[in-house]
């Protein structure tokens, strides 16, 4: 009967002390809001267009996430998808950095460009991506945006650019600076042709991007609370030796000082863009 006899002590695997309160959930189900710190259910966050359901903080969007919120389904056709950066200044380890950012962001570079329809209105669109080297502008970003503007001018279409960038890409040196002039020159031609250019400034829009195409829209929109400025906060604090107020260089600050036309909530952006495009179509259309 020995075989039916119960062991005196059973063994159960208790979770280690620090782990035992954690619920077992698949990875990526929860996201922490980096503004209010609240843990959010990822699916509800996405349903809320990546705006925190607790504090209304706007999470930054990748280029393709943004495009799916703005473009009519199935209308987006990408231009120059595989144009990738070389290393024009022979900057040490730049190729490795680019590769790591391609893997991290799922993009080839820091901007995605193409054509689309928004509420049935045709437009050329460019969306920068802060997940790729902080959306910095080097030769490829400059070239893709310039080609998109030239295409818009050629086809007499409006262009919409979503900015999200820390500024010029340092690793490409002076060539990054030249992109500011190159893009602005292309915009000058688009402007001269009487075509509409809308910029949507998203968090963050700074440096050489602010000092070129971000501020050149016929209509400049911004997402709530987006950081928008020329010089970095720390640089200015270093210059004036003072702390800056929290709302300095926010979208609201720019609206107050007359540098953006309007602040539009993410949920309304598609509708607003569609209306603006419609209002700028020529009378016959």
């Amino acid at each position: 009967m020995q075989i039916f006899k119960k062991k005196q002590y059973g063994v159960i695997n208790l979770p280690k002390e620090e782990e035992k309160d954690l619920p077992v959930v698949p990875e990526g189900t929860w996201v922490k809001c980096n503004k209010c710190g609240k843990i959010l259910y990822k699916k509800s966050l996405e349903e809320n267009l990546n705006v925190c359901t607790n504090c209304n903080h706007y999470f930054r969007l990748g280029s393709y996430e943004r495009l799916s919120l703005i473009c009519d389904k199935g209308t987006f056709k990408e231009f120059n998808k595989n144009m990738a950066s070389k290393n024009p200044m022979n900057f040490p380890k730049y190729e490795t950095k680019i590769k790591a950012n391609q893997e991290k962001s799922g993009n080839v570079e820091a901007v995605v460009t193409g054509e689309c329809e928004i509420g049935g209105n045709k437009a050329i669109i460019a969306v920068m991506d802060s997940n790729f080297l902080m959306g910095s502008m080097g030769t490829v970003v400059g070239e893709k945006i310039t080609l998109a503007i030239e295409e818009a001018t050629k086809r007499k279409l409006p262009i919409i650019i979503f900015t999200a960038s820390g500024g010029a890409r340092m690793q490409e040196g002076i060539l990054s600076l030249m992109q500011m002039a190159k893009i602005s020159s292309a915009l000058a031609k688009h402007n001269e042709a009487g075509l509409l250019y809308i910029t949507v400034l998203t968090d963050p829009t700074t440096g050489g991007v602010t000092a070129s195409f971000a501020m050149l829209g016929d209509i400049i929109l911004a997402e709530p609370k987006a950081l928008i400025g020329f010089a970095g906060r720390r640089v200015i604090e270093g210059t004036i030796k003072e702390k800056l107020p929290a709302d300095f260089q926010s979208a609201e600050f720019l609206l107050e000082h007359g540098f953006v036309d309007n602040i539009v909530e993410r949920k309304d952006l598609k509708r607003v863009l569609s209306t603006l495009l419609k209002l700028h179509k020529s009378k016959e259309v």
Partner: protein
């Protein structure tokens, strides 16, 4: 031989307090310079000077970033770091030059556009951006010369013309080597080292096609013989304007477009 000089040594010369300023050159190159002040919106930014003058008896518009020669002057000139008002004044004078069909000559010497609270409030980014887009379509010749420091967007806002030249020991860069070292290497003490890889010297920029011409300086720097440097700038300007003024407006604008379009 000239190429052997270290970038850091050229940068040091470009930043010397003795470095000749815009007004030093204006006085020697032009006659009848008459200064025009103010942006017509807010104030007169003294870090940018501008006006009308004669070059070899022909009217021109001259605009330049002005550094001081001592602390007192530098406080007045904001160390040659323009506010938005300065760029707006420059643009106003460029539009005026276009109206009266006279060429525009820009002298650049700045460590960068000013980074301050008021500069942000009045739209430093917008002011620079506006110059870039407007300069692309201005129908008179524009020649820009970097005479000392060419600091990033603050320099580019006056360097979007048909020709960009540099004095031999001047520098032109996306960021100062100090800033570059602290951002990319988290180590400001590496400034001297990074200056050598950033490609900031006139020779490196000529090779990359960022500038068209280098104006030679005497040994030790332009301050050793300002008259000589001013005379060669004057000769070069007279010659180049002959070429640029022979072009039709369409040719001029198309070539200016391609000048920047090529950076891909």
């Amino acid at each position: 031989m000239a190429k052997k000089v270290k970038a850091w040594d050229r940068l040091t010369i470009a930043r010397m307090i003795e470095r000749p300023t815009t007004l030093d050159y204006i006085e020697r190159i032009f006659t009848n310079f008459f200064e025009l002040h103010g942006d017509r919106y807010f104030r007169d930014d003294k870090s940018i000077v501008g006006g009308i003058a004669a070059l070899n008896n022909k009217p021109v518009t001259v605009i330049g970033i002005q550094k001081g020669k001592n602390l007192k002057e530098n406080l007045e000139r904001n160390f040659g770091c323009p506010n938005p008002d300065g760029y707006r004044k420059a643009l106003r004078l460029m539009k005026q030059a276009e109206k009266f069909n006279r060429p525009i000559l820009c002298f650049i010497n700045t460590s960068g556009a000013y980074c301050g609270v008021e500069a942000e409030e009045r739209g430093q980014g917008e002011a620079i951006a506006r110059n870039l887009i407007e300069m692309a379509r201005i129908t008179v010749p524009i020649i820009s010369i970097i005479i000392g420091e060419g600091g990033s967007g603050g320099a580019l806002a006056l360097a979007c013309g048909d020709r960009v030249w540099m004095l031999e020991n001047s520098v032109y860069s996306i960021l100062s080597p100090e800033g570059f070292a602290s951002i990319l290497f988290k180590d400001p003490s590496k400034s001297q080292e990074v200056a050598e890889i950033m490609g900031i010297t006139s020779y490196e920029l000529l090779e990359k096609g960022v500038i068209e011409k280098i104006i030679k300086e005497p040994k030790g720097g332009a301050h050793k013989n300002i008259d000589l440097v001013a005379a060669s700038i004057k000769d070069e300007l007279i010659n180049e304007l002959k070429i640029l003024e022979s072009k039709t407006k369409d040719e001029l604008l198309e070539e200016r477009y391609n000048r920047f379009r090529k950076f891909s």
